[in-house]
């Protein structure tokens, strides 16, 4: 510890705006975009993409399995729902004991949450094909696998994209909590600024706004994907 004396919070290169504790300092955002905001934004994008991709891969496989064996559809849904009831803070704490302050500690719960959101959507999507469409497919001599890939999956796309939109937005939001496990994601600058003796509002608002913009950006991409893929529904 250093010697006595007033603890002066370090706001970096302090401009008058920053040292004066104004509500929002554009200057700070400009100065610290490259060393604080952008790296954490990139981390947050990675965090989200990894978690949602892994969650989707697992949810998709489980849903295909449940589609084949309807008996296991509910047990999987219940198990998944139980995962969702574990608060993210607790999940991080438990996993720290196993995987330490690594990416896995963050990605495992986030993957779990998107899995829980995606699984029922994929299952419902696979059930979206009307009975008469399936009957016609069978009567024309399509094999089971052909029906799955050519009929059921294309018709599941709207439901799957709907699930992805919820999963991505919620992962972006929950991802901020990942900062408790170390310096990753947009949660970190927020947490850092909050812990200062005088919380630094500019950093909190700026990182918070980026979280919102990121969620909206992902959502926009998915809406675009839906438009491109689902041209058949009016």
């Amino acid at each position: 510890m250093s010697a006595a004396g007033p603890v002066i919070p370090s706001f970096g290169r302090g401009s008058a705006c920053v040292t004066g504790d104004h509500a929002f300092c554009w200057g700070w955002v400009r100065d610290h975009w490259g060393d604080t905001l952008e790296p954490h934004l990139v981390q947050h994008v990675e965090l989200t993409l990894v978690a949602v991709s892994a969650g989707f891969a697992i949810a998709f496989s489980l849903a295909l399995l449940a589609h084949r064996l309807p008996a296991i559809e509910h047990p999987i849904a219940i198990a998944a729902a139980l995962v969702y009831t574990v608060p993210s803070l607790v999940a991080f704490q438990i996993l720290v004991a196993f995987s330490g302050l690594s990416n896995a500690t963050v990605e495992i719960p986030l993957t779990g949450y998107s899995l829980v959101i995606l699984y029922p959507n994929v299952v419902a999507g696979l059930r979206a094909a009307p009975a008469e469409v399936l009957e016609a497919a069978r009567a024309m001599g399509l094999r089971r696998r052909q029906i799955l890939w050519r009929v059921e999956l294309p018709l599941a796309v709207p439901a799957i994209i709907g699930g992805l939109r919820v999963a991505v937005v919620s992962t972006v939001a929950i991802g901020t909590v990942a900062s408790l496990v170390g310096d990753r994601g947009l949660g970190y600058p927020i947490l850092y600024a909050l812990r200062l003796p005088t919380p630094f509002r500019t950093e909190i608002y700026a990182a918070g706004a980026l979280v919102v913009v990121l969620a909206l950006g992902f959502d926009l991409v998915l809406v675009g994907a839906r438009r491109a893929l689902v041209r058949w529904a009016r």
Binding site: E132, E135, A136, M140, G141
Partner: protein
């Protein structure tokens, strides 16, 4: 062009587990190649079950079904089905595929090359009365009648010798329905397929069928014959009731004035008795007579020239066995 196939039901039986009685009870039917055969009867008669046993969507317990002498059980179900057209009331078009892709389904499964498929799709759209540009539209953009036209084109795409149709026009408005019935008859004359057509509507059965099989509750065959023979000689009280008390008139509805012997149109000047086009049915001619209180009607050819006279007595004579 694949020609038509004969179809034989040979003492076919089917029970659904947990249900009393038969769905199909020892059904035997011989349907010659190229026949338009209508399965008709009240609900519970097993019409749809019988139809779906042909392409094995529904398995049967006993007996056999043979297409051109070959049991439907001799082929893997998938291959069997690719050679049988199937049209249902709800159509069941693939909503995510364009009309062209829907029609191309079976040709693609059969491994045809692109150019052959494209030519076939264009040919079929024209055959069923759709525009070439409709190939790029999606089912959601079509009317009910157009959708069923696509359904028919899709069923015919692989050029199957046998076509199964399960109440294909049941969900259409009466005008569209009448038009499609008419066009299907024309189409049947052109493409010469064997058609098995299920309906619960006696009028439709009489209008469409070369032969009619009437099924009653419990999946029993009540009568199998030409429409005229069924109307002239109902096999039992059930058939009599099913075809209706106006069966004499229905029979007259099967024949057109130009196809029956007419008396020479002489004597009374035109205008003294009602007139009707020779393309009309004898039933309509009788209706005109009854309406005018006359005992004869003058048949006119396409140019409006008198062709001959039909008297009420002649019409009655047509009903003689």
């Amino acid at each position: 062009m694949a020609s038509a196939a004969s179809l034989v039901f040979d003492r076919v039986s089917k029970r659904y587990p947990g249900r009393d009685g038969h769905a199909i009870d020892e059904l035997s039917l011989a349907i010659p190649a190229g026949t338009f055969c209508v399965l008709v009867g009240p609900s519970g008669g097993g019409k749809t079950t019988a139809l779906k046993m042909v392409n094995r969507l529904v398995p049967f317990d006993a007996g056999d079904i043979r297409i051109d002498g070959r049991s439907v059980r001799d082929l893997p179900a998938v291959e069997l089905r690719r050679g049988i057209g199937y049209v249902i009331q709800q159509v069941g078009l693939f909503p995510h595929m364009t009309v062209g892709d829907n029609v191309a389904t079976v040709p693609r499964l059969l491994g045809w090359d692109r150019r052959r498929i494209a030519a076939r799709v264009a040919e079929l759209l024209e055959l069923v009365g759709l525009e070439p540009g409709d190939a790029r539209r999606y089912p959601a953009q079509l009317s009910g009648g157009q959708r069923q036209r696509v359904g028919l084109a899709r069923a015919l795409a692989g050029d199957p010798p046998l076509l199964l149709m399960d109440e294909p026009f049941g969900a259409l408005d009466p005008i569209t329905r009448a038009r499609l019935q008419h066009e299907l008859r024309r189409l049947h004359r052109e493409v010469a397929k064997t058609v098995i057509f299920v309906t619960h509507d006696v009028d439709e059965a009489i209008l469409m069928g070369d032969r009619i099989a009437i099924l009653r509750e419990g999946g029993k065959l009540a009568q199998y014959d030409t429409p005229d023979a069924i109307l002239a000689r109902p096999a039992d009280a059930f058939v009599e009731r099913f075809v209706g008390e106006d069966r004499a008139l229905r029979r007259l509805g099967l024949r057109r004035l130009r196809d029956v012997p007419l008396a020479e149109a002489r004597g009374p000047a035109p205008g003294s008795c009602p007139a009707i086009a020779a393309a009309a049915t004898v039933r309509n001619a009788v209706s005109v007579m009854v309406e005018a209180g006359a005992d004869r009607v003058l048949a006119l050819d396409d140019d409006g020239a008198p062709l001959g006279l039909l008297t009420l007595a002649q019409a009655t004579a047509l009903l003689a066995p």
